[in-house]
């Protein structure tokens, strides 16, 4: 049952992320990316990473992709127009490189890791069965990873200030800029949410 669900979500994930890079309309691309993130969250749930799975939905689908949507709507981007020889060259090269990468990865994984741990060692012990892994992730976050955690919060603070300063524009402190500036400014801080969720 879990395998069937995994294959289904993996198929949705791959198809929708292919459509992200293939579709000409950036808005449609963004929406397919939302679908990809949601199916990735479902895969996380199948892997018993409930906290990460739902944070994935809250952060990526609920905050980051809304930001993308905002910017695409604000800039009013239509379909991409592309043409020319350099384009064909770049595209051919890109797909070739991608195919080589996939082949390489498949070779590596199937050649070296296929007979690897089919079942995890001593599962059901502490990590999987205990009172929800949220608590344990939180404990780890505030004990062994306390220092990285604090650094992340500083990164978020710096990013927040940076985004506000950059998006506000260079010269005009005038209120004329307010409606334009307000979209990125208001949207700049939801990233604080994951830091507080833990």
């Amino acid at each position: 049952m879990i395998t069937v669900l995994f294959v289904a979500f993996a198929a949705i994930l791959v198809v929708s992320s292919l459509l992200v890079i293939l579709h000409r309309n950036p808005l449609t691309s963004a929406l397919f990316l939302v679908l990809a993130f949601c199916s990735l969250a479902a895969i996380y749930l199948l892997l018993h990473a409930e906290f990460i799975g739902l944070v994935q939905v809250v952060v990526y689908a609920g905050a980051i992709m809304v930001l993308f949507l905002f910017v695409i709507m604000y800039l009013n981007l239509g379909h991409d127009v592309e043409s020319g020889v350099t384009l064909a060259l770049r595209r051919g090269l890109g797909w070739l490189l991608g195919a080589v990468l996939v082949a390489e990865g498949a070779l590596l994984i199937t050649g070296r890791l296929a007979p690897g741990p089919a079942t995890p060692q001593a599962l059901t012990a502490a990590a999987a069965a205990a009172p929800g892994n949220t608590q344990q992730v939180g404990l780890l976050l505030y004990s062994r990873y306390l220092f990285p955690f604090e650094i992340t919060s500083i990164i978020l603070l710096v990013a927040m200030i940076g985004a506000i300063v950059i998006a506000r524009g260079l010269r005009e402190p005038a209120p004329a800029e307010a409606p334009a500036g307000s979209a990125p400014v208001t949207a700049a801080a939801p990233e604080e949410a994951p830091g507080e969720d833990a």
Binding site: E50, F51, V57, V66, M73, E196
Partner: protein, 341 residues
């Protein structure tokens, strides 16, 4: 065949399905009548009778409304993005319905008790933005677009304070499971000569007020109904919608109100906890509190004027968010020094 039905997984799936169907129909019925109550309450507040002609006391009004909406012409504007125009109303209803899977209605009546129930609710409410933003974008109408963008900005801003205000409750209950949170609110709290119920509204009053204000903003209800402010934006994001698609947005709004009210009841008002009733009837307490809260929603809508947009943003970011953060800090300190009881 019988062996198939005795298989435990099949049993779980079957009873899960039964619960889902029951909750779905009960909630949709409640939503249909919420529209009726809204009009009745609005009528009484404005000293007029409200709908009273269809059936006794106007009780069949919702059915008349549904029939009318079914028979209306469906209109899609020229150069609208057709696919997104169709998807947006679906997205308006689905997240609100999904959240009900984790709401504990009675001691033994919940579709599924997951250990991250509160996060499920937050995730679903964060997906609600898409419906409004996409409806605004795909309509190819400047009023709709402005309404959609406003709603997206508003929901993102208030979601933060909403999420932060629940952290106090999580700290006190020590769990993200909504069933555990309700259990943590059983019993009484000595308060001078009185004994208050141990509901989190008494131990977390600041969080409750913040959550309630954000709930108004999240459901786009007055005084925060700027996305559809008719005096400046015509109909807001659903300007171009008609017939059943418009009805879906309407349904979504009431569904959201129902969802967020039931989460408020669960988090702050003790869920199904209450005196006098036997355990099998305690779900009546849940519904009693739920309807009281929904009445508050409607009362506020017909009493307060709409905020200005800059006031709304300033209030969310400069008032609610800092207070919510301070509340987290104070609760954390209290739990550290006093313990969470």
């Amino acid at each position: 065949m019988i062996a198939f039905f005795q298989d435990p997984t099949v049993q779980i799936a079957f009873w899960g399905l039964v619960k889902i169907v029951v909750i779905l129909f009960v909630m949709l019925g409640i939503v249909a009548y919420l529209t009726f109550f809204e009009r009745k309450i609005a009528g009484h507040i404005q000293s007029r009778p409200g709908p009273n002609l269809v059936g006794p006391w106007g009780l069949f009004q919702p059915f008349a409304d549904i029939l009318k909406l079914f028979l209306k012409e469906e209109f899609i504007p020229a150069r609208a993005n057709k696919i997104l125009f169709h998807i947006a109303p679906i997205l308006a209803v689905t997240p609100a319905l999904t959240s009900f899977a984790v709401v504990p209605i009675g001691p033994n009546f919940i579709v599924t008790d997951v250990n991250v129930g509160l996060l499920v609710f937050l995730a679903m409410s964060s997906l609600g933005v898409y419906a409004l933003a996409l409806a605004g974008w795909s309509s190819n109408n400047k009023y709709a677009l402005l309404g959609g963008l406003r709603s997206a900005a508003q929901m993102i801003s208030y979601e933060l304070a909403l999420g932060l205000s629940t952290i106090g409750v999580i700290l006190l209950a020590g769990s993200l499971s909504l069933v555990d949170i309700v259990h943590a609110q059983s019993g009484t709290l000595p308060f001078g000569p009185l004994a208050l119920p141990r509901w989190f509204v008494f131990t977390q009053p600041v969080a409750f007020v913040i959550f309630l204000i954000c709930a108004f903003a999240e459901t786009n209800r007055a005084p925060f109904d700027l996305p559809e402010g008719e005096s400046e934006l015509v109909g807001g994001f659903h300007t171009e919608y008609s017939s059943m698609k418009w009805a879906m947005f309407f349904l979504g709004e009431y569904m959201n109100m129902l969802t967020i009210s039931s989460i408020t009841v669960t988090l702050f008002l003790g869920g199904w906890n209450g005196p006098w009733l036997p355990e099998s009837l305690q779900f009546l307490w849940f519904f009693g509190k739920l309807f009281a809260l929904i009445f508050l929603f409607m009362w506020v809508r017909w009493t307060f004027p709409r905020l200005r947009y800059d006031q709304l943003m300033a209030f969310g970011w400069k008032v609610l968010l800092p207070i919510a953060l301070l509340n987290v800090l104070a609760t954390g300190a209290a739990v550290y020094w006093v313990g969470n009881r």
